[in-house]
């Protein structure tokens, strides 16, 4: 496994990316004789061996359905599943991990749970929900759905010229609001809004704060307390964990006041012919057999990331983003537009690119020939794309296993796109 160095000052220690790359089997794959340059971790990250091994081990030695199995094997499964919940909870600084961490399918399901279960119970016609222009559809469409059903008023926090949230009208926008739904990091621009500051203002206005942490949680230390979140949703597969599992953290008293989302086995205390009594959180929100192996894999992913250090991962990505911004600018000048904050310290490791007038799809296709994986499209953020005045962008995103060579590969591939579409 990747070596740990210089524990005393995590920010000063550089990651041994070569060693980290060796932990990820897929990065050794070759396409058309070229190494894989994976720059699409914002869509989904790759998996290190410990995560793959943990899931394999679970299936080989510990699989049974969770809850209520009395035999020793089922007890093993139970323990691993509940231990995973505690690992996740501690990872985000949850005050009460056993009660506050709900396993979902992904961040999207977590956010839908908040809107459809908490929102439908507690919001009334005319209530105000504040969303931002940075939102992924996952933290937007559930609120649009509820707004339509419940005649809610949706208010928008917009971005300014520097691709950051314009907070000049914050007090006005938040006045009387019940919910602030906000992404902690834009999956298109990399913008990281000052969530803690916004949460404080939202709380003063009497609003709950629902944070989409899908892009932030994998990349830097997150503590729900200092973030000021009331709900926080994120996905396992964006942080080196398996697909099919996500997390919704909610403050214990809020989850207790939230009715069930999906009904079925595992979420009730009692069922009669004329009704049912739901179980307590988090089981109340985990109807049916949950993603057990995926929870085990997610816990292994968290332990892997913690073994390297989220501080160091954040510092590494910050360095790489600064390097890429400077290097690409230097090499392509005005031919390349990068949508997003100029200052590396104000952004995550996501670069939305526009290269001359080459369409992002064509750009991604040409980059693929060089083994460079980027995503082209609207990135499930259509209101933001409209604001940027583009239909699509090509997006490169970095994670702990990327290095300067990957940035150079991206730059070389961009140059070849230039010559094809010249």
């Amino acid at each position: 496994m990747a070596e740990l160095t210089a524990r005393s000052d995590p920010r000063a220690a550089e990651l041994d990316v070569a060693a980290i790359k060796r932990d990820f089997p897929v990065l050794a794959e070759r396409f058309r004789g070229r190494r894989l340059v994976y720059l699409d971790s914002a869509a989904s990250a790759q998996h290190p061996l410990p995560v793959l091994r943990a899931q394999e081990h679970y299936y080989e030695h510990a699989h049974a359905n969770v809850h209520r199995g009395v035999y020793a094997l089922a007890e093993r499964a139970d323990q691993l599943y509940e231990r995973a919940r505690l690992t996740v909870g501690r990872f985000i600084g949850a005050p009460d991990p056993a009660r506050e961490v709900v396993f979902t399918k992904n961040a999207t399901e977590g956010l839908n749970l908040v809107a459809q279960a908490w929102g439908r119970r507690h919001l009334r016609p005319g209530d105000v929900v504040v969303v931002t222009e940075l939102e992924h559809h996952a933290n937007l469409v559930p609120w649009l759905m509820l707004a339509e059903e419940r005649q809610l008023e949706l208010r928008w926090l917009e971005i300014d010229e520097g691709f950051r949230l314009d907070l000049s009208r914050l007090t006005e926008v938040l006045r009387g609001a019940r919910v602030l739904a906000i992404s902690a990091m834009s999956n298109v621009l990399g913008t990281m809004p000052p969530v803690a500051e916004l949460a404080e203002a939202a709380h003063r206005a009497g609003a709950l704060v629902v944070v989409d942490g899908a892009q932030l949680v994998p990349h830097q230390p997150v503590d729900v307390g200092s973030l000021g979140a009331d709900f926080l949703a994120f996905s396992g597969h964006k942080m080196c964990g398996p697909t099919g599992i996500g997390v919704l953290w909610g403050r214990a008293e809020l989850l207790a006041a939230t009715p069930p989302f999906l009904g079925g086995g595992g979420m009730i205390k009692d069922v009669r012919r004329d009704g049912f009594v739901p179980d307590d959180p988090p089981q109340r929100f985990e109807a049916g057999t949950p993603p057990i192996a995926e929870a085990v894999g997610l816990a292994a992913a968290i332990e892997y990331l913690q073994g390297i250090g989220l501080d160091r991962i954040a510092a590494h990505e910050h360095h790489l983003t600064a390097y890429a911004l400077e290097r690409l600018q230097q090499r392509f000048g005005r031919d390349l537009v990068i949508h997003g904050p100029r200052e590396p310290e104000a952004r995550g490791a996501v670069l939305s690119l526009a290269y001359r007038d080459v369409h992002p799809h064509d750009l991604a296709q040409v980059l693929d020939q060089a083994g460079v994986c980027v995503r082209a499209g609207h990135h499930c953020a259509k209101p933001l794309m409209r604001r940027l005045g583009v239909a699509a962008t090509a997006r490169a995103s970095f994670y702990l296993y990327n290095d300067e060579d990957d940035v150079e590969a991206l730059a070389d591939a961009l140059a070849s796109a230039g010559s094809l579409f010249g």
């Binding site: 799809h361 082209a376 499209g377």
Partner: protein
């Protein structure tokens, strides 16, 4: 780079850079149909001017990648002036070309089928590449399954417009 050169043939890049039949037609009398590729946000708008049994004029607007835009341009140049049955036949032939390497990836995936064209029992329309003329340049797209939707976007939109027109008559 062979596959890529096959995808981005000179004729495709030419139609991308200099799209034919670009623009709009007044509606009415023209019919307007709109198609989206929800995956990438590409959109195409097709304006059809039909007189009697003939597509006398066609214009294309919208935005998208080189494949979707060149396919629309090639399509417009190919169908203008043709009779409606000929246009339908061309749509079917083109879509068959887009699915010869897989099991109808292009047509299955994009949901909106042109109606009224007979397929044989196996569901495969025999492809007569000669009848496609310049359109055959797009056959390299089938090696890139994700891009098939780009190539078929304007064709599905055209078929949709013809369907709407037929329904309105």
């Amino acid at each position: 780079m062979n596959d890529l050169e096959d995808l981005y043939r000179e004729i495709i890049l030419d139609h991308y850079r200099n799209p034919r039949q670009r623009g709009e037609l007044p509606t009415p009398p023209a019919t307007r149909a709109e198609g989206f590729n929800p995956l990438c946000g590409d959109e195409v708008v097709v304006f059809l001017q039909v007189e009697g049994d003939r597509l006398v004029d066609i214009r294309i607007s919208g935005q998208g990648c080189s494949i979707s835009q060149s396919s629309a341009s090639l399509m417009a140049a190919a169908v203008k002036g043709k009779s409606l049955p000929e246009v339908r036949r061309l749509i079917a032939t083109f879509k068959a070309m887009m699915s010869v390497h897989g099991t109808a990836l292009g047509s299955d995936a994009d949901g909106e089928e042109p109606s009224g064209e007979a397929e044989d029992a196996s569901g495969i329309v025999p492809v007569d590449l000669d009848s496609l003329g310049e359109l055959a340049a797009l056959q390299g797209v089938v090696k890139f399954p994700v891009r098939i939707k780009c190539a078929t976007l304007s064709w599905n939109t055209l078929a949709q417009g013809l369907d709407e027109l037929a329904a309105a008559r």
